[in-house]
């Protein structure tokens, strides 16, 4: 293992978050068994008070997870100098088989945490806390994810040995190789560009429809997920080559480097937050029929849709600007 402060910080965070979640899970079990809003018993009173603690704990835990996702990638990026063959985060994630699962788990946690926080905020708006049981059931489902993430990350860091010769983005994201990354890379640019803009138009239209008519929240979330997938494919197959101005370089991590104006952060942050808020709309929308939540669902749903659509538009604009302003011209080759 490498005794590096950023690694120590990441491990510290994951351990503390697991402890916080463990506390919350113990409480969630109590809530699932004893929660009864109509009762005035001492136990119920205690439970109601404790919900404040749990939601504060959870907000901090998920906030820490978001920052740790960024820190994880940034750290992988900066450690690439210490491994033979690594030139960016891809190489460091490839050093052992735990790197990629850790990253995917962190992304899953980001979305899971966002959904939980949105549900929690909605539930707190209703005077009778109608979603409490559902909320804590969801928490029980998130707990294993958090533990798995902590475990995977620990293994990844413990087994980072600098004498491993790793392979980097040049070999992973090339259309001759095998595997998912190579499949995504070899998607034809025209197809992925159409997919990007069509799914983008669809998700923005669905968002505007929802904000007008207050219906179709699930469709909007689903379309957002599809748009998210297409966006990632497009980043690998089309957008990165345009940003690097090199038709064969497809790495989705090198765009995070300062040499490319931190373009990656500008693209990924709006995309991830837009998708998270869109998922939030899907979570909020179905509770329209609960009397104590109707108005809260309306305002919250509208806010989330606006944030989500706004960020999606920002993402598509940025993507278009990167392609338009690039010196790489692929007219006649790709189009």
């Amino acid at each position: 293992m490498l005794l590096n402060p950023a690694i120590m910080a990441l491990i510290l965070v994951s351990v503390v978050v697991v402890l916080m979640l463990a506390m919350a899970t113990g409480f969630a079990l109590q809530v699932l068994r004893h929660w009864d809003i109509r009762s005035g018993s001492e136990l119920q009173l205690r439970l109601e008070r404790r919900t404040y603690l749990i939601s504060t704990l959870m907000s901090w835990a998920f906030a820490a997870e978001v920052v740790s996702l960024l820190l994880f990638i940034y750290n992988a990026e900066s450690m690439s100098g210490q491994f033979v063959g690594a030139m960016c985060a891809t190489g460091v994630l490839n050093v052992n088989p735990w790197g990629w699962p850790t990253l995917f788990m962190k992304i899953a946690l980001f979305f899971g945490g966002a959904i939980w926080l949105i549900l929690n905020a909605l539930d707190n708006q209703g005077y009778d806390y109608p979603l409490t049981r559902l909320k804590y059931l969801l928490l029980l489902l998130i707990m294993p994810l958090v533990m798995a993430e902590a475990y995977l990350q620990l293994r990844h860091f413990l087994e980072l040995s600098p004498d491993v010769i790793t392979s980097c983005c040049g070999s992973l994201f090339s259309s001759d190789a095998k595997g998912v990354a190579a499949e995504v890379t070899s998607v034809s640019p025209a197809v992925s560009m159409w997919g990007l803009y069509l799914s983008g138009t669809a998700v923005i239209a669905a968002g505007l429809f929802y904000s007008r008519v207050k219906r179709g929240s699930a469709v909007f979330s689903l379309l957002a997920l599809i748009a998210f997938g297409f966006a990632l494919v497009a980043i690998i197959s089309v957008l990165s080559p345009y940003i690097y101005e090199h038709p064969q370089h497809h790495c989705p991590f090198c765009i995070l480097k300062s040499g490319h104006g931190f373009a990656g952060y500008l693209l990924y942050i709006p995309l991830f937050f837009a998708t998270a808020s869109a998922l939030g709309v899907g979570v909020v929308g179905p509770w329209h029929h609960i009397a104590s939540l109707t108005s809260a669902v309306n305002t919250k749903g509208r806010q989330l849709v606006h944030v989500s659509v706004g960020l999606f538009i920002l993402f598509y604009l940025l993507a278009t600007v990167y392609v338009m302003s690039s010196n790489l011209v692929m007219q006649g080759v790709w189009w």
């Binding site: 490498l2 005794l3 402060p5 120590m8 910080a9 965070v13 504060t56 901090w60 820490a64 920052v67």
Partner: protein, 376 residues
């Protein structure tokens, strides 16, 4: 906008409330800033050192070739330059002559190196500034070295080496090849090692492979490897210091927990009154959140600023020996300031995050108390 106005009022309130208890808050801030200061100093210093090493090695040759005899570094015959043949990708190759010389008067080793570029006469040398400091000499003075056979040779100091490169040139003496042979009694026709420049970095490993095939008794040392080792060593030293400082962080966490849970009767009454005039639990939590946020931000900035001054203007006097290593002829150098996002985020996780976690439960305990219970 409503949301922002609400937060503004809360911040307003908590600032006036914090000012009412100056002593307690200042004490906490002092400890907090101190923790940030220590960790930030370590981080800024190692980062700057890493950068310095990178800059210094920037112009050094990509490959150094040493001959090994019985597992030990030995002189390399000049004929090896022809023996290795032409290797595609190598832009220049030349033999170097250098060695170490012990100077009993300052109890230190000098690095003596033959420099062809400087056009030195056989009685002239150029020395590093640490040697000039240790021996108290200036350009124009004479400096004498004892040779291998006990003879003493005097050299006139032509000039001093640049301050900018002092990290590597502190103990360096540049001299003429004739003088070198006289001092060390080395046979003609051999070099200490051979250096090769390669313009395309990706070709370096392949060239190293070819070299070790053609000259099996040599060992190529790559610049990339040296850089990687430095990077790992500095990170590791920094990590060790952090582990040692973990005790301090723990103490700080306990301190913060204690401060947050041991509220005075007056503070409890304040919260009781707030709740009885209509504040909800979540309002109290928000207010306390702002208290923590303001305190953390302020302490973080103060600590970081002090660390910045400490490292870049006071040469990090507290941690210098551990992080830099030590030697008799130690280079004096000014680090170039640099701040990195990864560092700030890591530092944040080491200081603000533990503080927040430590205060969540005590704050919640205060926030949920009934007004009548505290005002009675």
């Amino acid at each position: 906008m409503n949301f922002i106005r609400r937060q503004r009022y809360l911040v307003d309130y908590i600032i006036s409330s914090m000012l009412r208890r100056k002593g307690k808050n200042l004490g906490l801030m002092l400890v907090y800033s101190l923790i940030v200061f220590m960790l930030a100093s370590v981080m800024l210093f190692t980062h700057a050192l890493k950068q310095e090493v990178g800059l210094l090695l920037h112009s050094s040759p990509e490959i150094i070739l040493q001959r090994m005899v019985a597992g030990r570094h030995d002189f390399i015959p000049a004929s090896y330059l022809e023996k290795m043949g032409r290797i595609r990708g190598v832009t220049s190759r030349k033999g170097r002559l250098w060695g170490y010389l012990y100077d009993p008067s300052v109890k230190a080793n000098y690095t003596l190196m033959v420099s062809d570029e400087q056009a030195l006469a056989a009685t002239e040398v150029i020395i590093g500034s640490a040697i000039a400091r240790a021996r108290g000499v200036v350009p124009g003075d004479y400096i004498s070295f004892r040779s291998f056979d006990g003879e003493t040779y005097s050299f006139q100091i032509k000039s001093l080496l640049d301050h900018e490169t002092e990290l590597v040139s502190a103990d360096l003496v540049l001299l003429n090849s004739k003088a070198y042979h006289a001092l060390f009694g080395m046979p003609e026709g051999v070099y200490t090692d051979i250096v090769l420049s390669v313009s395309n970095l990706r070709e370096v490993p392949k060239i190293a492979e070819k070299l070790s095939q053609r000259l099996p008794d040599t060992r190529p040392i790559l610049k990339q490897e040296i850089l990687r080792t430095y990077d790992a060593i500095f990170s590791w030293r920094q990590g060790i210091l952090f582990v040692l400082l973990a005790g301090a962080i723990m103490a700080f966490v306990i301190f913060a927990w204690d401060k947050a849970s041991g509220l005075s009767a007056e503070e409890k009454r304040e919260i009781g009154i707030l709740k009885s005039i209509g504040w909800e639990t979540s309002d109290v939590l928000h207010m306390k959140f702002w208290e923590g946020a303001l305190l953390s931000l302020l302490s973080f900035f103060i600590g970081y600023l002090l660390a910045y001054l400490h490292v870049f203007y006071a040469s990090a006097s507290l941690f210098e020996p551990v992080l830099k290593g030590w030697a008799v002829l130690y280079p004096q150098f000014q680090l170039s300031p640099s701040v990195d996002g990864l560092q700030v985020a890591t530092l944040f996780f080491f200081t603000v995050f533990p503080y927040v976690v430590a205060t969540i439960i005590p704050i919640w305990q205060v926030a949920v108390t009934d007004p009548d219970a505290v005002m009675r």
